[in-house]
C-alpha cells in the first residue's frame, strides 16, 4: 500500500466508494458541486467548485445532481431535510461547511435526528453522516475556526469522529456512512493537504476505537485530530530525556474509547489530554474526569488537559498560533508531571 494521497482526496474517495456501493447515499450541501443551472457548466457536466475546499470535486459529474445536491444557503433546511430523508430510507451525507454554522442548524441534530429513535420507541433509524470542518490555524477568525466536536459529542444519540490522517479519514468515513445513526465526521481544514498511505479498496476503520500511535510507559498523551502531531513532537522531545510517552489518537470523540485510554493510564500513571476546543465542558475534560474516577488508584500525578484558552479564535496570525495548543505548552505541562516522575 504505497499509494500516498492527501487527506481531502481520501475523503473524496470514501464518498465516491460509498456512493458507488449504495445508491441510497446522497450528498447535500452548499456548493458541494457548485454552478447548478449554469449553462456552460451544464453543457460540460462540470462542477464549479466541488465544495468550498474542493473535497467533493468530481462527484457531481460522476453521480449527477440528483445525488450531489447543491442547496440554498439554508442550513436548518437542508440539515433537517437530511434527517427526514434518513428517517425515510435514504443515507444522506449533508455537509455543514464550517462546524461554526451549527448555530443555524442545531435543532436538526439536538432535538430531531438524535432523539427520533428514542422518542419513537425504537422505530426510527437515522443513517446520516454530517461532514463538517473545524479547527483554527487558517486565519479564518472567530466565526470560522471553532472546534465544536465536543458540543456534538455531548448529545445522546450522536457519534462523533475526528480523523487525524488520510488512512483513518477514509476508513472512518466509510464506517460512518454505513452506520445507522447520526455520525458527525469532523474534518480539520488545516489537514486537507496532509498526505498519507491510503489503500485503494473499500475498507473501514471502527468507530469507537482509539489507536495507540506510539507506545510508552511513563506518560499517556491522548489527542484529538491534528493535536496528534503536537503530541508526537512532544514525545520525541521527551524521549531525549528518556521519558517514554504513549500517544493515543482518540479518533472517535463520542463515544470515546474508555478502555484504551484507561489501560494506558493504568500503565503510565500520568495523563495529558490535548484538545483544541474551548476549554470548558469539552472532550478533554470528559476524559480527564472519567480517568479521575475509573483509574484514580493508578494515577501518579494530577490529570492534565491542554486546550485552547477561554477566548474566541483571534484573527491575527501570531495570536492564532498562540491560541492553539503547542508543543511548548504541552512540554511545560509534561514537565509538571515529570518532575514528579524524576523524584
Amino acid at each position: 500500500m504505497a499509494r500516498r494521497i492527501a487527506f481531502m482526496k481520501a475523503i473524496n474517495e470514501a464518498l465516491d466508494q460509498a456512493m458507488a456501493k449504495d445508491d441510497k447515499v446522497i450528498l447535500l450541501g452548499e456548493d458541494i458541486a457548485g454552478g447548478a443551472k449554469v449553462k456552460q457548466l451544464e453543457k460540460e457536466n462540470e462542477d464549479a467548485w466541488g465544495g468550498v475546499f474542493g473535497v467533493t470535486k468530481g462527484l457531481m459529474p460522476k453521480y449527477g445532481r440528483k445525488r450531489v445536491i447543491d442547496t440554498p444557503i439554508s442550513e436548518m433546511g437542508y440539515m433537517g431535510a437530511a434527517v427526514g430523508a434518513a428517517a425515510t430510507g435514504l443515507r444522506p451525507v449533508p455537509e455543514l461547511m464550517f462546524n461554526d454554522f451549527i448555530g443555524f442548524s442545531l435543532d436538526t441534530i439536538l432535538a430531531q435526528g438524535s432523539k427520533m429513535r428514542y422518542m419513537f420507541g425504537g422505530k426510527a433509524r437515522i443513517p446520516m453522516t454530517v461532514r463538517t470542518t473545524h479547527g483554527a490555524g487558517a486565519s479564518a477568525a472567530a466565526q470560522h475556526s471553532g472546534s465544536y466536536y465536543g458540543l456534538f459529542g455531548s448529545i445522546p444519540g450522536v457519534k462523533v469522529v475526528v480523523p487525524s490522517n488520510p488512512y483513518d479519514a477514509k476508513g472512518l468515513l466509510l464506517s460512518a456512512i454505513e452506520d445507522d445513526n447520526i455520525v458527525v465526521f469532523s474534518e480539520d481544514k488545516t489537514l486537507y493537504g496532509l498526505k498519507g498511505e491510503v489503500p485503494e479498496d473499500y475498507y473501514k476503520v471502527e468507530i469507537g476505537k482509539a489507536k495507540i500511535k506510539r507506545e510508552g510507559k511513563d506518560l499517556t498523551i491522548v489527542t484529538i485530530g491534528k493535536m496528534l502531531y503536537v503530541a508526537l513532537d512532544v514525545a520525541d522531545q521527551l524521549a531525549k530525556d528518556g521519558i517514554e510517552t504513549e500517544v493515543i489518537d482518540l479518533l472517535t470523540v463520542a463515544p470515546w474509547d474508555q478502555e484504551t485510554v484507561i489501560e494506558s493510564v493504568k500503565k503510565t500513571g500520568r495523563l495529558i489530554v490535548i484538545d483544541e476546543a474551548h476549554p470548558h465542558n469539552n472532550t478533554a475534560k470528559d476524559i480527564a474526569a472519567v480517568v479521575g474516577d475509573k483509574a484514580f488508584d493508578y494515577l501518579d500525578g494530577p490529570i492534565k488537559t491542554v486546550c485552547a484558552p477561554n477566548t474566541p479564535v483571534p484573527f491575527a496570525t501570531n495570536l492564532e498560533q498562540l491560541y492553539l495548543p503547542s508543543p511548548k505548552r504541552v512540554l511545560e505541562t509534561a514537565a509538571e508531571l515529570i518532575d514528579d516522575l524524576k523524584k
Partner: protein, 322 residues
C-alpha cells in the same frame, strides 16, 4: 382527483369522530391528573387533518406538530397504542417514551408530532426528497400552525421544495393563535397563503371548518405533487375548541363577534349534514359510526389504563440503532 364516494365519506366521518372523541376524553382525563405533561388538543380542527389524509396511503408521509393527535388518527395510527402512549405506557406507539408531543408511527408514514414549532418543515422536505429520488408517486404533507409560519424553517423549507419541485404539500392550520398570540399580530401578511408567491408556488386559503373545501384543495395539491408538478401551500382557516394546552384560561379568545361565530361552528356536524344531504351517508349509518367511534375510544382508554408502565431497563434502550 377522485370524487368523494360513500366508502370514503364513511371513513372520513369515522376519523372525524374518532379525533373529537379522543380529544374530548383526553381533556377529561387530563383534568383528573392521570395524563402527565403537556397536551395540546386538536378538537375543532378535524376537517383539516381528515380532509387532507383522506387522500393519503400508508406510503405517503406526513409531518405533524405539538398538536398532533388529529394527524395521527387521520393517518391511521392505532387508537389503543396512541392512548397508551399519552398515558406513558409500555404498550404505547412509542413504548411510552415519546408522549403526546412525540407520538409517531413511521410504519404508517407518520413522522412524528413535534415538540419544536417549525421542526416538521425540513423533515417533510427530506421525505419529499426521498419520494422524488426513489421515483415513487408518494407525497409528503407538512402540517403546521399559523405561529409556525413565522419560524425560519418555514421559509427555508418551502423555498427548497419550490426549487426542487418536491412532492410536498404544506398544509397550514390557521387557528388564529399561536399560544396566546393572534396571527393578526404576529404575521406581517394578512394571510399565510399570501406567502406562496414569495416562493413561486401555488397557494390558496380555504375554509378549514368545511371538510369538503379542505378535501378538494388537498386533493388537487396532492395530485399535482404526485404528478411531479411540485409543492402547494394550503391555508385552512380553523379554530381550536380548547385552549392552547390543557390548563389555558383562553382569555385571548373572543366571546362574541365574527371570531366567536366562527369558533362555534362544528365541522363534524357540518360534514354530517353535507354527507347526508348528498346521500353519501345515511342518518342511520352516521349514527352507527358515531357509536362505534365512542366505543373505540372507550376501548382505547381501557387499553391504556390496563397497560403497564415501561420497564426500567427501557430507559437505556433505543438511543442508538445497531
Amino acid at each position: 382527483m377522485e370524487k368523494l364516494n360513500k366508502e370514503r365519506a364513511a371513513w372520513i366521518y369515522k376519523k372525524m369522530n374518532d379525533i373529537r372523541n379522543f380529544e374530548n376524553e383526553v381533556h377529561e382525563i387530563f383534568a383528573t391528573g392521570s395524563i402527565p405533561g403537556f397536551v395540546h388538543l386538536y378538537a375543532g380542527e378535524e376537517a383539516v387533518a381528515v380532509g387532507v389524509c383522506a387522500h393519503l396511503t400508508d406510503n405517503d408521509y406526513i409531518t405533524s406538530t405539538h398538536r398532533g393527535h388529529g394527524h395521527c388518527i387521520a393517518k391511521g395510527c392505532d387508537l389503543n397504542q396512541m392512548m397508551a402512549e399519552i398515558y406513558g405506557k409500555e404498550t404505547g406507539l412509542c413504548k411510552g417514551k415519546g408522549g403526546s408531543m412525540h407520538i409517531a408511527d413511521i410504519d404508517k408514514g407518520m413522522l412524528g408530532a413535534n415538540g419544536m414549532v417549525g421542526g416538521g418543515f425540513p423533515i417533510a422536505i427530506g421525505a419529499g426528497l426521498r419520494n422524488q429520488y426513489l421515483k415513487t408517486k408518494d407525497v409528503a404533507v407538512c402540517f403546521f400552525g399559523d405561529g409556525a409560519a413565522n419560524e425560519g424553517t418555514f421559509h427555508e423549507s418551502i423555498n427548497m421544495a419550490s426549487i426542487w419541485k418536491l412532492p410536498v404539500v404544506f398544509v397550514n392550520e390557521n387557528n388564529s393563535f399561536g399560544e396566546a398570540t393572534p396571527q393578526w399580530y404576529a404575521s406581517g401578511s394578512k394571510r399565510i397563503a399570501d406567502r406562496g408567491p414569495a416562493y413561486g408556488i401555488p397557494s390558496e386559503t380555504v375554509d378549514g371548518k368545511d371538510l369538503m373545501a379542505v378535501y378538494e384543495a388537498a386533493g388537487k395539491a396532492i395530485e399535482r405533487a404526485r404528478n411531479g408538478e411540485g409543492p402547494t401551500l394550503i391555508e385552512c382557516l380553523t379554530y381550536r375548541n380548547y385552549g392552547h394546552f390543557e390548563g389555558d384560561e383562553q382569555k385571548y379568545k373572543a366571546s362574541s363577534g365574527d371570531e366567536n361565530t366562527f369558533a362555534k361552528r362544528d365541522c363534524i356536524k357540518e360534514f354530517r349534514q353535507y354527507a347526508v344531504d348528498k346521500k353519501l351517508l345515511s342518518a342511520a349509518g352516521a349514527n352507527k359510526i358515531e357509536k362505534s367511534s365512542t366505543e373505540d375510544i372507550e376501548h382505547a382508554i381501557k387499553f391504556a389504563e390496563e397497560s403497564e408502565v415501561p420497564k426500567p431497563e427501557t430507559l437505556y434502550q433505543d438511543v442508538f440503532a445497531d
